[in-house]
């Protein structure tokens, strides 16, 4: 379905936030390593899922890729150009190729703007700067067709965000992200704020759009069932690092990393007889604080398979089968 050219490549990306103390003389007392040396790539036309629990660094990764958060080190290659090395002007031009759909459809739309203006704004900005050759009339037409495409009635054009339901607002956000015909859509928890019946509407819409416009998705979510449905490949993150990368079918059928196993076993299945028979791996304790200086595997305190060497050094991400990478000493 999709070719194998790489659209986005993340190499050794690190995002560390300084922890400061003191009021007058602020000094750095440590680092919060939100994203700690991760590498992965997104192929053209695929939907790559980024999953993990809160605080694992998945959103920070997305923001660092979108250049909305400065990375500490590493590179973000979009079509082989490092976005981190671009000048502001070059970055501005590159941005039209990657757009974001945000999690919260309530706070990500300007309450003082009409729906049509929200959707048209990216086009207007680029047209004003001469980077997009569209007249105001063409922009209006394009806005109308985008609204229709995402399932909003033309009569909604003059309405303000508060007049829409959560699902409709998310449709506005999607139309806005599509306005510049990007190659990559970064969707940060696009359905987690929505009701079950609306969630499936939006997921199906995104899937149709992907096929129709040959879009590439970086899809961030904590809901594994949603990611399984939407994505062809999945990156599992834990505490700022990558635990496992695999095709979604492989990941769900044959997870390797003990964390992935626990995570999958914790997802409830809406099937009572099956659910009663399932063996759940209940992880002990919470995710440790990312501010703690650590050596060794980040998962070892909660891991049932922890060995001595896990405390000494962190396992590297190695390929165990074609396309299946895992960071665990069990599979060395």
């Amino acid at each position: 379905m999709h070719d194998t050219t790489t659209l986005l490549e993340v190499k050794n990306l690190k995002v560390h936030f300084p922890i400061e103390k003191g009021i007058l003389l602020r000094r750095r007392v440590g680092w919060l390593k939100a994203v700690d040396d991760i590498s992965f790539s997104v192929k053209k036309g695929e939907a790559l899922g980024l999953v993990g629990e809160s605080g694992c660094g998945k959103s920070t990764t997305a923001m660092a890729i979108a250049q909305l958060q400065a990375a500490t080190s590493g590179s973000v290659l979009f079509e082989e150009r490092d976005l981190r090395a671009l000048s502001p002007k070059e970055l501005y031009e590159a941005r039209r190729n990657f757009q974001i759909v945000f999690q919260d459809p309530y706070s990500s739309l300007n309450p003082r703007m009409k729906a049509a203006d929200i959707i048209a704004e990216p086009m207007r900005i680029y047209a004003r700067r001469g980077a997009l050759d569209l007249s105001e009339k063409q922009i209006s037409e394009k806005t109308a067709s985008l609204m229709e495409r995402v399932g909003l009635l033309p009569s909604f054009a003059g309405r303000y965000p508060h007049e829409f339901s959560g699902g409709q607002r998310q449709r506005i956000g999607i139309a806005r992200a599509l306005a510049l015909e990007p190659k990559l859509i970064i969707a940060d928890e696009p359905v987690s704020a929505l009701d079950v019946s609306i969630q499936s509407q939006i997921l199906n819409l995104l899937k149709d759009l992907q096929d129709e416009f040959n879009l590439t998705f970086l899809f961030i979510a904590h809901n594994l069932a949603v990611v399984e449905y939407f994505c062809s490949r999945i990156v599992v993150m834990y505490l700022g690092t990558i635990a496992e990368i695999a095709e979604s079918k492989v990941l769900y059928e044959k997870p390797l990393h003990p964390y992935t196993k626990a995570l999958l076993s914790a997802v409830p299945i809406p099937d009572p007889p099956k659910e009663r028979l399932r063996k759940r791996i209940i992880l002990k304790g919470d995710v440790p604080s990312p501010t703690k200086e650590r050596i060794g595997c980040p998962f070892r305190e909660r891991c049932s398979e922890a060995m001595e060497r896990c405390a000494k050094s962190a396992p590297p991400l190695v390929e165990v089968e074609a396309g299946h990478q895992v960071a665990c000493f069990l599979y060395e």
Binding site: Q168, I198, S200
Partner: protein
Amino acid sequence: MKETKAGEAPILSVRNLRTYFDTEYGVVKAVDDISFDVRKGEVLGLVGESGCGKSVTNLSLLRLVPTPPGRIAGGQILFNGKNLLEGSEEDIRLIRGANISMIFQDPMTSLNPLLRISLQIAEALELHHGLSKKAAVAKAVELLKAIGIPDAESRAHDYPHQFSGGMRQRVMIAMAISCNPDILIADEPTTALDVTIQAQILDLIKNLSDRNTMSVIMITHDLGVVAGMCDTICVMYAGHIVEKAGVDELFSDPKHPYTRGLLDSVPRIDSAWRRRLYSIPGAPPNLVQLPAGCPFRPRCERVMDICGREFPPETVFGEAGGAPRSVRCWLHVPRDAGHEVQRDAKHE
């Protein structure tokens, strides 16, 4: 599955409960004529989307609906035969926390940030069991141990902000079970939590329910959670219970088109590969302007003429598997129920 509790008398019976809110746009019937029973040791699930009335139902049970604008407009809530809606405020206070207790969705905002954890748990014990402060705090530490807080002796004296989300929810549970309640109401207890922490908390609630034969009313929008936890399920839509069934029957043979639609629209990790999800068209209704007849009508694929005229009566099925089963949908109203005439008349 636990043995059936159908033979036992219910400890809580909700009969024709109506909770209305008077707003400037009109009367919002958040809960409109619902009835259900909770038996000893039963885990009852109330499932529905936002605005379906599931949380208001539970606030009504303990008379916690903010008044005004809310008011309980009718019905009965019989706890061990006594109507909770009748007694004085003091009467209901003796029930809250002691016999029926509640855990809320958001453990961050439901704990007092200025009070040490131990004191917050001890409060109910002092009030209901008349323990001294010292004894109550000691019991609180014991409870924290029982629910799996590591290093409970010292952590008991921490403040809520020093606890993680999962631990705060454990504290909420410790508070709720401190007086050995008969019924625990859990309002979306794991929605704010990560999936591995959710598994821990659900496991804990289930164990507590089994061990203490405590009944649980579990409110959630997550059908996966219900499947693993509940014995009986009530599906709510626009203030009504549209379907009531034992958990196995509900999932294997959903009768209401809404229930069926919900089940089909949830992505699941064990599903056949790349099946397209079903989606129910439209959005949950605005409770101020409900359509006439069945509120699900505008989104229903099997809509008939009669659906627009009249809200469907409750059709009760045989008590298969011990759990009462009923549905409110014209598709299931038997042909001899007297409504047939109207249905046919329109088709002629």
